[in-house]
């Protein structure tokens, strides 16, 4: 079970990012737990300054802008 956090204030792209992660995980048949982090202090604590950001198992893999589906698949299956 991978623990995935989507960092962002709830903007459109952050929602789209969370949806993309869930659909990619479903496609790959991976069990994931997706959590949205909207608290600004917590977001800054991860060291990113642009949203949406993605943290997988405690590691920042992406910051700023909608990620590519291919990259999401790569991060999830790493």
């Amino acid at each position: 079970m991978k623990d995935v956090k989507v960092l962002g204030s709830g903007c459109k792209r952050c929602v789209a990012t969370a949806e993309m992660i869930e659909s990619e995980a479903a496609r790959l048949g991976l069990a994931v737990h997706v959590e949205k982090v909207t608290d600004y202090a917590a977001i800054a604590g991860y060291g990113i300054a642009s949203t949406p950001g993605i943290v997988i198992d405690g590691k920042v893999v992406h910051a700023g802008g909608l990620p590519k589906a291919g990259d999401v698949a790569r991060w999830l299956s790493a």
Binding site: C11, A44, G45, A49, S50, G70, A73
Partner: protein, 351 residues
């Protein structure tokens, strides 16, 4: 667990040769469309049941010529900047600014504000991210002022529609306002006016793994920017051109020319006040600027108006309230307003 099928895409979809050739073909098509613009619009105008030279005819002609022109220019600029921006990121800009002293830092922040991808919806995480990483408050403000005001869309459209002289003037004075206002805010030492929790945030120092970015990725970034920005901004362009058309067709030249002339000192503060509640994107502002200049408005007054509309935004102040006290927002708004007034007055006095 490894699933190669998920990652492997069809080979030609990632081939740089295919992408680059498509880009070149699109560029050629763009140039063709640009050259056909005037004959095409002339055709449209000859079909429309308006009398050429009448007020309605003038307004309709302005609208019919400017909408496709602005949209075409915007497309090219946004695509090009999408590619340029793939070389920058907010995190990298922050790392560049974190060690900088005030002064040089303000100059760097304002300049990076032009090229760093920024959207006002992420102003708060950006602000906290900068301040908590040790970027001085005044330097952060220089970035926050420059990013929405002096951007590629504004500069590119000014260059294409009004001329390079105005574009360069806007660039120089816009950066000047961002640098000086940020520096002044920094000198005032207002860190105490941030919300308490902001000062306690310590940025994590997790390095973001740099994914290797290929040529194809950069072109993709350009296409994404195109879809995203033009998709959001086109409505502003229509509204902006319609306002420009109304000014062009219906506002008497003598009236506007005298109200917004150099001699009329109060026109500068008047347009700045008018600009605060108005919020428009730079792309919507330029057709208005073009029409105002065409009616004989003074350049300093028009520049001040454009800066006020893009840089003084009431919605952004509301968003920033989450991280700073009302007093600090007031100082920020006040300092920037003074800077823009100074640009307007100075410019009208000098030229």
């Amino acid at each position: 667990m490894s699933t190669p099928i998920a990652i492997t895409r069809t080979r030609h979809a990632n081939s740089p040769v295919v992408w680059v050739s498509f880009t070149l073909a699109a560029l050629a098509a763009w140039i063709g469309a640009w050259m056909l613009l005037v004959p095409f619009t002339g055709r449209v105008m000859s079909i429309l049941p308006v009398v050429p030279g009448s007020r309605l005819g003038e307004a309709a002609a302005f609208f019919a010529y400017e909408v496709p022109k602005v949209l075409l220019l915007l497309t090219l600029i946004v695509f090009g900047m999408g590619i340029v921006r793939s070389f920058f990121s907010v995190e990298r800009t922050r790392a560049l600014l974190a060690g900088k002293r005030e002064g040089a830092g303000n100059v760097a922040a304002a300049s990076l504000g032009i090229v760093t991808p920024f959207c006002s919806c992420s102003a708060v995480p950006l602000f906290i991210g900068f301040v908590s990483a040790g970027v001085p408050l005044g330097v952060t403000f220089s970035f926050l002022i420059a990013a929405p005001m002096v951007n590629e869309v504004a500069l590119g459209l000014l260059f294409g529609l009004v001329g390079w002289q105005v574009a360069v003037t806007y660039l120089v004075f816009g950066l000047g306002v961002a640098i000086i206002c940020g520096w002044v805010i920094g000198r005032l030492h207002l860190e105490g006016w941030l919300e308490d929790w902001v000062r306690n945030v310590r940025a994590g120092t997790v390095p973001i793994p740099l994914t290797r970015i290929t040529v194809v990725d950069r072109i993709r970034a350009g296409v994404d920017a195109l879809r995203d920005i033009v998709g959001r901004v086109w409505i502003w362009v229509i509204v902006g051109v319609a306002s420009g058309a109304a000014i062009h067709g219906y506002v008497p030249t003598e009236l506007l020319g005298s109200i917004m002339s150099k001699g009329n000192w109060w026109s500068v503060p008047a347009v700045v006040l008018l600009g605060i509640p108005m919020y428009s994107n730079a792309a919507g502002m330029i057709p208005v600027v073009e029409a105002l200049l065409g009616k004989g408005a003074a350049l300093g007054t028009v520049l001040a108006f454009m800066m006020a509309v893009t840089a003084l935004s009431f919605p952004e102040w509301i968003i920033l309230r989450k991280v700073m006290t009302v007093r600090l927002i007031a100082v920020f708004a006040g300092v920037v307003t003074c800077g823009i007034l100074a640009v307007g007055f100075l410019f009208n006095a000098l030229f």
